[in-house]
Amino acid sequence: MGTVILLALTGLGLAALYFLVASGLSLVFGLADVLNFAHGLFLGVGAYGTWWAAGNLPGAGPDGFGFVFAVAFGVAAGTLVAILVELVLIRPLYSRTIEQVLVTVGLSLAGVALLQATWGADARPFPRPDWTRQVTGILGAQVPNGGLLLIIAAVLVLGAILAFLRWTRYGLVIRAGVENREMVTALGIDVRKAFTLVFAIGGAAAALAGALGGVYFGTVSPGQGSSLLIFAFIVVVIGGMGSVVGSAYAAVVVGLVQQFVNYYGTSGLGDICVVGLLAVVLLLRPQGIAGKVATA
């Protein structure tokens, strides 16, 4: 029983990480039709920003309030990069989907190389508060605190995004834009502001994923983002593009499947099952669990 609970909770931790990355991807894709390969870069910026702040910024550190400050710095850096990318690189190319994908591909290559050039290709130990290294006993399972932190953060982010989408004016614009962008434009609303906004939200969530993922894994390396990104893509497709709630469901399914199959089957089999799941979902329900039809 203890093993099952442990696997479930670590699986949920993984799901939380996927959700943080996928929610932004899904919103950006749903609203602006941009398949954002540079999303892994935002994650990397968040992770390295936190790591750098904890070591160099006065007032920030690996413990207590200093750690919160460091994470805030990392998230701010990720958000800033996301906004800059949208304004400078993506905006001139709107409605040219392929070119946008190409630019984000180039950006992901160049950005990761830049991180690597600045801080080296090797994984660096990540500063983390002592309590995240310990475990908490839940129903007889010893669950690492880093994973619990991720789950709590993801639930908070999910709540915040949903509240934002439901109860604010910009949230309304974004929801309407995902549904039918032409109509929103025709009503005289500048939907491009909403694009910048979803990029900022996505960048912030991804940067948070980078920072907390660093805590969870204990290290930070330039390639971390791109390996997570592929599973985040899978989560987005399974969940349905443009649906935050769908991403949350899909992230939970993917995280749990991966964790359980990897434990009870061979290591690596879980990852393959996830791709199998993707194929099944696409064949049976191409629009994903809860999204608009994932075509074109």
Binding site: F29, D33, L35, F37, L89, P92, L93, T97, I98, E99, V101, L102, V103, V105, G106, L107, S108, L109, A110, G111, V112, A113, L114, Q116, A117, T118, S226, I230, F233, I234, V236, V237, T266, S267, G268, D271, I272, V275, L278, A279, L282, L283, P286, A294, T295, A296
Partner: protein
């Protein structure tokens, strides 16, 4: 005809086709011959290659460049000519590399059997996965192919059954290979093999795109619904292109494993597909020579920029500049982004653009 009784004005003498025009159709042949006899020259081009052209190191670099020229041309069959954005092309290349390597090293088959089995297997794999992936279109198709390729990467990295050697890769067991393909002195044969592969790919892609099927593919790229309305099945044509490109990629893998002498897991990564995309876009998608040029140039730069990055000229720069410049991917990624913005047609579109530019800048010498 109303012009019957009008004496035809003396037709302006048809402009004699210039020498450049008459030679043009033969240029690829000339290039092929030059490339084929290149290993006989001992010229050394300092700064471009280390050592003379016919040194094994240079020939190996050239052979790899040629392979990737061929791969990019094969990928262009999907991206540039049919408009399919696949992010999983590395899978079929890797299938070629690892298939050959495993069949030779682990199963002890002779090269020709291993190559035949691998190419057949790679083509069947492409057909099967394409049949599933092509049920989606556009961005969803890109993601599905990406996910399939990721399975390949996981299979190789996790080393199921101890076949692939995991992270360390699998060195090729050369004891059963033909003697002409083994050893540093025989690099030239591998170079010719790579050249033959490139020629094959260019020939196949050229023939396909000139055939009625090729015209349907171009139609799919421009307007898929229209092809459907015309009564043709887009799914089938796309599957044909996908399978053919997969088969060509696994053939390239067979040659690549011979040149490099082993398989390493980085060729299964999605980064390889992304770089294929970069090659095609840099060279000029949908053109005959653009992707080849892009592939050759990209691989050359990828190798040479590493040397350039560690050279004194770069090391003496301040750290802010020298560190990014020592990363080939940073330079190539930046060039790629600039290319998407400023010359969307790739390298091959530069020539006509430059002609326009020079014509505009040339002083008008007509008397006023």
């Amino acid at each position: 005809m109303t012009l019957l009784d009008v004496t035809p004005a003396p037709a302006p003498a048809a402009p004699r086709p210039g020498l450049a025009h008459r030679v043009r159709p033969f240029l690829p042949l000339v290039a092929l011959v030059v490339l084929a006899i290149l290993p006989y020259s001992t010229i050394s081009l300092p700064g471009i290659f280390e050592g003379p052209v016919n040194s094994p190191g240079t020939l190996q670099l050239l052979a790899i460049c040629l392979i990737f020229g061929g791969l990019a041309a094969g990928y262009d069959l999907l991206f540039g000519r049919t408009g399919m954005l696949s992010f999983g092309h590395a899978l079929y290349f890797a299938a070629g590399v690892y298939g050959t390597d495993i069949l030779i090293t682990r199963a002890g088959l002779p090269l020709w059997q291993a190559a035949l089995l691998t190419i057949t297997g790679g083509t069947i794999l492409a057909a099967l996965l394409g049949a599933v992936a092509l049920r989606t279109v556009g961005i969803a198709f890109a993601m599905v192919t990406l996910a399939f390729a990721q399975v390949g990467a996981i299979l190789v990295a996790r080393d199921f059954g101890g076949l692939t050697g995991g992270e360390e890769g699998l060195p090729l067991d050369v004891s059963g290979l033909p003697a002409g393909l083994v050893g540093v002195t025989n690099t030239v044969n591998l170079y010719w093999l790579a050249l033959a592969y490139l020629t094959l790919v260019v020939f196949v892609v050229h023939r396909v795109s000139g055939s009625p099927t090729g015209r349907v593919l171009a139609g799919l790229r421009d307007d898929e619904r229209r092809i459907g309305v015309l009564g043709l099945d887009p799914y089938r044509y796309k599957l044909v292109a996908f399978t053919l490109a997969g088969g060509l990629a696994s053939t390239g893998g067979v040659v690549y494993v011979l040149i490099v002498g082993g398989a390493s897991p980085h060729i299964t990564s999605s980064e390889l597909t992304l770089s294929l995309l970069v090659m095609v876009v840099l060279g000029g998608p949908g053109t005959r020579w653009g992707p080849v040029l892009g592939g050759v140039l990209y691989m050359y730069l990828d190798h040479r920029l590493t040397a350039f990055g560690t050279s004194d000229a770069v090391d003496n720069l301040p750290a802010v500049l020298s560190h990014p410049l020592s990363q080939p991917l940073f330079v190539l990624g930046t060039v790629f982004i600039l290319a998407v913005y400023f010359f969307p047609g790739g390298l091959t579109s530069l020539a006509p653009r430059l002609t326009h530019l020079t014509r505009a800048l040339k002083p008008q010498n007509t008397p006023r």
